[in-house]
């Protein structure tokens, strides 16, 4: 007799093999690479108790850094939502010269190392840079100001929005739009009432991803931000500074808050997608 499957009552048998092996590998690997290190991080900031943790987080400098990181990430995500939608629409719906090249460039922020993006952006937007010089003349300073942070975050976030909605746009049949037109809707009404609602979940997903990525971004920002405490100092940089000041609980406390925030965002996103997929 072959070995019966009744030995394991906890899990129903499955026709496709390898579940336990692959899940085991997955969990083991995750533990080693991400979970244990993050657990170490979670344990760190409590050396002075909960009160100490709160004190660290409510210091004006930390609050300002968190506000800056989350705030500029949110603004950058919104900018990306608007422009990403427009870019994705243009690239999927219209045919024009160099469309392929522009489309391929969208992935650049995925492929270009953040440190390279950082030095390139700061060279470009510095007072004597190609864009910095003309902007300076009309009184706009980008490099070494919070605006510079925004530019860097828009840079790294764009592909998330575009690449999330592009396939949905490409899959969307023209029939619904044509149907709307036959029912007497103007083009604008069709876009607002047929196209946009269809895209909304993907747009939201992409925007959230861009936001989540931007909150933690370090490499591209530190070169272009002025890194001025309470003005242009982002939370990840403050973590590094705390680390360099031998303030491990301080560094870890900020790290923990950022970790919790990103995990909450991702969990919400995955739950949302599950709900939408069930619709």
């Amino acid at each position: 007799m072959p070995v019966t499957r009744q030995a394991d009552r906890r899990r129903k048998p499955d026709a496709l093999p390898g579940f336990r092996l692959t899940l085991g590998v997955t969990l083991f690997y995750l533990c080693i690479i991400t979970l244990i290190p993050l657990a170490a991080l979670l344990i760190q900031p409590w050396s002075n108790g909960f009160h100490g943790f709160i004190t660290i987080l409510t210091s004006p400098r930390v609050l300002a850094a968190l506000k800056l990181s989350f705030g500029s990430a949110a603004i950058a995500a919104l900018v990306n939502m608007v422009f990403g939608l427009l870019v994705a629409w243009t690239l999927t719906r219209y045919r024009f010269p160099f469309r392929r090249v522009l489309d391929a460039l969208i992935d650049l922020p995925f492929a270009l190392p953040t440190a390279v993006a950082g030095i390139a952006l700061s060279a470009l937007y510095a007072q004597n840079g190609w864009l910095g010089a003309p902007l300076e003349r009309i009184g706009i300073k980008v490099a070494y100001t919070p605006l510079g942070i925004l530019v860097a975050l828009v840079f790294i976030g764009l592909p998330f929005v575009v690449r999330t909605i592009e396939p949905i746009l490409a899959d969307m049949s023209l029939e619904a739009e044509e149907a709307a037109a036959t029912l007497g809707a103007t083009r604008l009404q069709t876009l607002a009432r047929i196209v946009l609602p269809t895209l909304a979940p993907a747009l939201m997903t992409g925007t959230t991803l861009a936001f989540a990525r931007a909150v933690g971004e370090y490499g591209s920002v530190i070169f272009i931000a002025g890194n001025l405490p309470r003005v242009s100092e982002i939370a990840p940089l403050l973590i590094v500074i705390r680390l360099e000041e031998f303030d491990y609980p301080g560094a870890a406390a900020i790290g923990v808050i950022m970790l919790i925030a990103s995990f909450a965002i991702l969990l919400a996103l995955n739950l949302l997608q599950r709900r939408l997929a069930r619709r």
């Binding site: 700061s122 007072q127 070494y144 590094v240 000041e245 031998f246």
Partner: protein
């Protein structure tokens, strides 16, 4: 595709196999010198000379590896296990921290070598743009309306801490000056600082390359370097009426050298920094040599100015670090009240 995966794994295995060979240190042959940002050119010049001398004296070869970053972050790395044999940092309190937190060397390390373990000194000077358009000649000019001052973050940068203390000492010593007026002056000064980089290099970059600010509070050697390398004629060095005697100390890390078996060569290396040929190189790299003879040879390069010392003015680094730059210290107060 399967073949690709296999190929990738083979490549990885090969790569992994070569790794242990690469960083393996032959015992006693390699020194890791963990230093701060601006000393790169200095040690690039010093190390080959030492290797040559060492070979002549002992017949052995020595490779010196360098690590450069902000002084504070380097101390942090050493505390976290960066396996340095010697540290050559920007200020004593960073090495104090290594002694306190990692116990890699005794607390009285600074007494072990001559001149408080500082083979060369430096000071903080002003670097201004060509023609000095804002007419900056001394400390009071820095807080004139419209002047932008570039200096790094004192929390992480050694140069910034020296600059902070130089400003403080000047303000405290002017007629009628005291701790109160000094604090007011420094607070006013930091209101003129538009960006605060983590290290000296970052602020020099911002000033020189990115064109931000009117005056850079800089290491003397860094200012010379910026002038020489980055833009001859684009900048001018201004010596204020007074500054601070900046003493970047050196030390060997007893626990690490004993583990590596490198004590002898590390000791020789640090002693070498006081030798005449080394002092010459230091002078040529715009560090003020301790050797009076060498100093006088290069006196043209180092205009005399009133230099306050950390010992006399601030009671040593241990005290100054906590009072001015610790959590809730004077720098924090200035910043909290400032913006």
């Amino acid at each position: 595709m399967a073949r690709m995966t296999v190929a990738a794994i083979v490549v990885a295995a090969l790569a992994a196999a070569t790794i242990p060979a690469a960083p393996a240190r032959a015992a006693g042959r390699t020194l890791l010198n963990v230093s701060y940002d601006p000393t790169r050119e200095l040690y690039q010049a010093l190390n080959p000379l030492f290797a040559k001398e060492w070979k002549q004296e002992t017949g052995g070869t020595v490779d010196i590896e360098m690590s450069h970053s902000g002084s504070g972050s380097q101390a942090r790395a050493v505390i976290d296990g960066l396996d340095a044999d010697v540290v050559t940092l920007a200020l004593a309190s960073d090495i104090d921290a290594i002694a306190q937190k990692a116990h890699l060397l005794p607390p009285d390390w600074q007494k072990r070598l001559p001149d408080d373990s500082t083979p060369y000194t430096s000071t903080i000077v002003f670097l201004v743009r060509q023609g000095n358009p804002k007419k900056i000649t001394d400390w009071p000019d820095l807080i004139k309306p419209g002047v932008q001052v570039i200096t790094p973050n004192p929390k992480t940068s050694g140069a910034a801490r020296w600059a902070f203390l130089a400003a403080w000492a000047w303000a405290a010593h002017r007629p009628g000056g005291n701790a109160q007026t000094a604090k007011a002056y420094v607070a006013a000064l930091y209101k003129h600082v538009p960006i605060l980089t983590t290290g000296a290099r970052g602020s020099t970059t911002a000033f020189v390359e990115r064109g931000i600010g009117d005056v850079l509070l800089s290491w003397e050697n860094e200012a010379d370097l910026a002038q020489a390398q980055l833009g001859p004629g684009r900048f001018a060095i201004v010596y204020p009426s007074s500054s601070i005697l900046a003493e970047p100390p050196v030390a060997l890390l007893d626990k690490n050298v004993d583990r590596h078996g490198t004590r002898k060569v590390a000791e020789a290396y640090l002693k070498f920094l006081y030798s005449k040929p080394a002092q010459e190189i230091e002078a040529r790299n715009h560090y003020r040599p301790r050797d009076p003879q060498v100093l006088s040879e290069y006196s043209r390069e180092f205009p005399p100015l009133k230099l306050y010392t950390i010992e006399a003015e601030f009671g040593g680094w241990a005290k100054a670090q906590a009072k001015y730059f610790g959590d809730g210290g004077i720098f924090d107060q200035i910043y909290t009240h400032g913006r």
